[in-house]
C-alpha cells in the first residue's frame, strides 16, 4: 500500500472516531489490541476512549506505521457497519476462527442437523426481513438447502452453566432481523426435526436431556464474526419484549431475566410442547418488538440445543463430594489473608448461621474459594435461586462466582454441628475461635477459657445482668420517651448515666437488685437536683423502687406479666406488671406518630390515671431547675445506656416487641452500649414507652405531690 494513499483519509477517520458510540469505541479498542499490538484499556468515560483511540492513531501517523494504520482503518470501518462490511480479509480471519472454535459443539457432525428443513423454512421468511436492514452475507438463512451443508453454519458458544451441558445444536442458527421500534413488530420462525439419536437421548432418564431454546443478540455474536465472537461466550439474551410459540403454544417461561441485564435468565425448556416423534417438524416462532428505550437495533439469533441437565441436588452432591474444605484449610487461608497493620486490628465479628438468601439455617455452608468473608450461604438456596435468575452473584459480597470454585466450608460446618438449631449467630474471634453471645456454645478452646458468663465484654450475655436489668430497662426507656412527649414530666427522669459502668459492676457483683434499689431510692429523693448529681445508678434506679409506694390509685389493671419472672427485684414485681399494658396500647395506638403524640395516647389508655398524673407531675417539674433541652438530652442518655440490656430482656417478655433497635443514639452513653444498634435520633417508639416509668419515678420521688 503506497504510503500517501494509505494516509489519505486519515483525518476523516480520525475525525469520525468521536461519532462512534461507546460500545463501538470499545470494539475499536479491542480490535486495536488484537490486531495492532496495542494494550489499551476499555474503561473510562467516552471521551477517554476517544482520546485513547486518537492518540494511538496519532502515534502510528507520527511513526508512519502504515501497516497498523491500515488495520486500524479496517477495524473502524468494520465496527461502523458490522454486517455490511464483510469482504475484508480481516473479517474472513475471524469467521474462520469462529467457526473453528464452535466446531466442538457439533461433535457428531452435521448429519444430525435438520438443516435442510430449517433452511427451507427460514427462507420462507426472508421476505419479511427489514428491507432497510444492511445487506447480509449470504449465510445460512438465505442459502439454498443444497448449499448449506457444505458450509456448516457456525454455532454459537453460550456461556457455560452448571445446570446445562450443551450436547449439540439440534437446529441451525436463525437470524432474527432488527426491530426498529416498539411498534415495529417482527416475527421469525425456526423449524427443526429431531434425529433418532437425539430422541433417544431425550427418552433416557439418566442422564437427563432436554431441548432448550437459546438466543443471543448481535451485541455478542454475529454470523460474520465480530470482535467479540471469537473470544467471549455469549450470554442468553432474548428481545426485551417477545413471545415464543412452540408448535403454536406460547411458552410461559421467563425469557428476559433482569431488565437490561442479558444473561440473567436460563434458556427456556421446550419440554412438552415439542413433538417427539421421528421426522416430525417442530416449529418455533418468536414475535418481538424493540421496546428498549432508546431503541437499540439488534439482531437476535435463535438456536435449539440438546442439553444434558444437572439438577440442584446433583450439583450439591458433587459439591459435597469434591469440594469439602477442612477446617484447617479454611484456617490457613483465613490467617494468611489477615495482614498485619499496627494501626488497625480486626476484632471479633458476628456471623449469621442463617443463609442470606433463604433466611433459614444453613444446611450446606458454601462460598467461593475466592470469597474473603467467612460468611457462607446455603448451597441449596443458592443453586435454586441461580436456576431461575442466572446472575451467579455471591449473596454476601455480591461478586460474580464461578460455580466451579464453590467450596463447602468445613469451619462453618463445624460451627453448625456444634450449635443447636435455635442459635442464629455466633461471634468469631480473630484467632478462629467462635462462641455464641451467651457463651453457651463455642469452640473447645473458647469454652475452656471462658466461663458461660462473660464479664469481660459488655454484652447482653450474662444471665445476672439480664434479670436485673430488665425491669429497669423498661422503665428507663419509658421515662425517656415521656421526657420528649411531655416535657413537663421529663425532668424527673433525669438520671445521669455516666456511671453506667459503675452500675454494671455493681449489678454484676450482686445479682439481686435490692442494694441497688436502696441506693436508687436515695438518689431519687433528690430529684430536684440537676441531672449530674442525680446519681450514678440512674438507670437502675427508678423503676423498681418507687413501685411500691406510690402507684396512682386509678392505674389500669396489670397486664399479664412478663416481668413477674424477675425474681431479683421483688419490689418491682408489683409495679412492673402494670407497666406493660399502657405501653402496649400506646404502642398500637401511636405507631407511626411522632413522639409528641404518644403521650396523649397513653393518657387515653389509662384515662383515670392521666389526670392525677398531670397534677402530680407539675409540681415536680417546677422544682426542676434544668432547662428542657438539657433534660431531654439526659433522658436520652439514660435510655440508651439501658438499652444494652435489651436483648436479654426481650426473650422473657413477649408482650414487648423487641424495640432494641429503636433506641435512640444519644450522646455518650450509647457508646458504652456495645451491642445496641444506634440511630441518630430518638425514635418515636421510645416515646411510647415513656410514660409509665416516668410516672413511677415521679411518684417515688415525691409521692405527696402526686396524690394531690
Amino acid at each position: 500500500m503506497a504510503t500517501p494513499s494509505a494516509w489519505a483519509d486519515f483525518d476523516t477517520h480520525r475525525h469520525n472516531v468521536k461519532t462512534n458510540t461507546v460500545d463501538r469505541l470499545k470494539q475499536i479498542l479491542t480490535g486495536f489490541n488484537d490486531e495492532c499490538g496495542t494494550n489499551l484499556t476499555k474503561g473510562g468515560k467516552k471521551q477517554d476512549l476517544i482520546d485513547r483511540i486518537t492518540r494511538a492513531l496519532d502515534t502510528w501517523r507520527a511513526t508512519n506505521d502504515t501497516d497498523k494504520w491500515t488495520k486500524a482503518r479496517t477495524i473502524m470501518q468494520q465496527v461502523r457497519q458490522p454486517r455490511s462490511y464483510s469482504s475484508s480479509s480481516y473479517t474472513g480471519d475471524h469467521t474462520y476462527t469462529t467457526s473453528a472454535h464452535h466446531a466442538s459443539f457439533q461433535p457428531s457432525g452435521s448429519s444430525n442437523y435438520s438443516h435442510i428443513n430449517n433452511a427451507g423454512s427460514s427462507s420462507e421468511h426472508i421476505p419479511r426481513y427489514n428491507p432497510y436492514a444492511p445487506p447480509r452475507r449470504p449465510t445460512v438463512p438465505s442459502t439454498t438447502s443444497q448449499a448449506a451443508p457444505a458450509a456448516a453454519p457456525p454455532s454459537i458458544r453460550f456461556k457455560a452453566s452448571p445446570f446445562f451441558r450443551v450436547d449439540r445444536a439440534v437446529s441451525s442458527v436463525v437470524e432474527c432481523p432488527e426491530s426498529g421500534s416498539a411498534v415495529d413488530r417482527r416475527q421469525q420462525t425456526l423449524m427443526f426435526t429431531l434425529s433418532n439419536d437425539a430422541l433417544q437421548k431425550l427418552s433416557t432418564p439418566e442422564p437427563k436431556y432436554q431441548l432448550r431454546l437459546y438466543c443471543t443478540s448481535s451485541m455478542y455474536w454475529t454470523q460474520s464474526g465480530g470482535f467479540k465472537t471469537a473470544t467471549m461466550p455469549c450470554p442468553i439474551e432474548f428481545p426485551p419484549t417477545c413471545e415464543v410459540r412452540v408448535n403454536g403454544t406460547a411458552l410461559s417461561a421467563n425469557l428476559k431475566g433482569m431488565k437490561k441485564k442479558p444473561g440473567t435468565a436460563p434458556p427456556p425448556d421446550l419440554g412438552k410442547l415439542l413433538r417427539t416423534t421421528p421426522a416430525t417438524p417442530n416449529r418455533i416462532e418468536m414475535v418481538y418488538v424493540n421496546s428498549q428505550q432508546p431503541a437499540q437495533p439488534k439482531k437476535y439469533y435463535l438456536v435449539v440445543m440438546l442439553v444434558e441437565v444437572t439438577t440442584v441436588e446433583q450439583l450439591i452432591d458433587r459439591l459435597k463430594k469434591g469440594k469439602y474444605k477442612s477446617k484447617q484449610e479454611i484456617f490457613a487461608k483465613m490467617f494468611q489473608s489477615s495482614s498485619e497493620d499496627d494501626d488497625i486490628v480486626a476484632g471479633h465479628q458476628k456471623m449469621s448461621l442463617k443463609c442470606p438468601l433463604s433466611y433459614m439455617r444453613i444446611q450446606t455452608p458454601t462460598r467461593s474459594v475466592h470469597c474473603v468473608h467467612p460468611q457462607c450461604f446455603d448451597a441449596m438456596s443458592w443453586f435454586s435461586v441461580m436456576e431461575q435468575t442466572t446472575t451467579w452473584l455471591c449473596p454476601v459480597c455480591e461478586k460474580v462466582l464461578n460455580p466451579e470454585e464453590l467450596i463447602i466450608d468445613g469451619y462453618f460446618d463445624e460451627i453448625l454441628k456444634h450449635t443447636p438449631e435455635d442459635v442464629e449467630d455466633v461471634i468469631v474471634e480473630p484467632d478462629g475461635d467462635w462462641h455464641t453471645a451467651d457463651n453457651k456454645h463455642g469452640s473447645e478452646k473458647w469454652k475452656a477459657a471462658h466461663a458461660p458468663v462473660k464479664p469481660v465484654q459488655p454484652k447482653p450475655a450474662s444471665p445476672v445482668k439480664k434479670r436485673s436489668s430488665t425491669p429497669q430497662d423498661l422503665l428507663t426507656n419509658r421515662t425517656n420517651g415521656s421526657s420528649q412527649s411531655r416535657p413537663s414530666n421529663a425532668e424527673i427522669v433525669i438520671l445521669d448515666s455516666d456511671d453506667e459502668d459503675e452500675g454494671r459492676v455493681k449489678r454484676e457483683l450482686s445479682p439481686s437488685f435490692d442494694g441497688m434499689a436502696a441506693r436508687g431510692r436515695s438518689s431519687m429523693s433528690s430529684v430536684s437536683q440537676p441531672p449530674r448529681s442525680a446519681t450514678q445508678s440512674s438507670d437502675v434506679i427508678d423503676l423498681t423502687l418507687d413501685t411500691d409506694d406510690d402507684e396512682p390509685p386509678a392505674r389500669p389493671a396489670p397486664a399479664p406479666a412478663p416481668m413477674a419472672s424477675l425474681s431479683t427485684a421483688p419490689v418491682a414485681k408489683r409495679k412492673a406488671p402494670d407497666a406493660p399494658s399502657p405501653t402496649e396500647q400506646i404502642w398500637k395506638k401511636s405507631r407511626g406518630d411522632g413522639p409528641g403524640s404518644s403521650s396523649p395516647a397513653s393518657g387515653a389508655s389509662a384515662p383515670a390515671t392521666s389526670t392525677g398524673h398531670r397534677n402530680g407531675l407539675l409540681p415536680l417539674q417546677e422544682s426542676f431547675p434544668l432547662p428542657r433541652p438539657g433534660t431531654s438530652q439526659a433522658h436520652l442518655a439514660t435510655a440508651s445506656g439501658s438499652t444494652r440490656y435489651q436483648p436479654s430482656y426481650s426473650p422473657n417478655s413477649p408482650t414487648y416487641p423487641q424495640y432494641m433497635p429503636l433506641t435512640p443514639s444519644a450522646q455518650p452513653p450509647r457508646r458504652l452500649s456495645g451491642n445496641t444498634p444506634r440511630q441518630p435520633y430518638a425514635s418515636p417508639m421510645d416515646g411510647r414507652y415513656a410514660n409509665v416509668p416516668h410516672m413511677n419515678g415521679a411518684t417515688s420521688s415525691s409521692p405527696e405531690s402526686w396524690r394531690t
Binding site: D343, I344, V345, A346, G347, S352, V396, S665, P677
Partner: protein, 96 residues
C-alpha cells in the same frame, strides 16, 4: 526541637490509644476493629471492605449519621471506645 517533639509525642501517645469500633451493617452483621485514634478511618474502611469482600466504593460509612470522609480519624470525629460506624450500600442514580 527534639524536646518539643518529644512532648508532642508523649501527648500523642496518650491521645492515640487504640479504641474499639464496631462496624454495623443494615442487616445487623457486626465486625469489630481496634484502631488508633489518629489513624485515618479510610484505613478502617479499606480493612472492612477487604474483610467482607466488598469494594470500598460500593459501600458508605456513617458515623452519627454523617458520612465519614477520607481524612477523618477517630480523633477528629471525637469517637469513643465502642462507638459504632454504620455501613450502607452506596447507591448511585436517582438524578436525570
Amino acid at each position: 526541637m527534639s524536646d518539643g517533639e518529644h512532648q508532642q509525642e508523649s501527648k500523642m501517645e496518650d491521645a492515640n490509644a487504640p479504641i474499639n469500633i464496631k462496624v454495623l451493617t443494615q442487616t445487623g452483621e457486626e465486625v469489630f476493629f481496634k484502631i488508633k485514634r489518629n489513624t485515618k478511618l479510610s484505613k478502617l474502611q479499606g480493612a472492612y471492605a477487604s474483610k467482607v469482600g466488598k469494594d470500598v466504593g460500593s459501600i458508605r460509612f456513617l458515623y452519627d449519621g454523617a458520612r465519614i470522609n477520607d481524612d477523618d480519624t477517630p480523633a477528629t470525629l471525637e469517637m469513643e471506645d465502642n462507638d459504632t460506624i454504620d455501613v450502607m450500600v452506596e447507591q448511585v442514580g436517582g438524578s436525570a
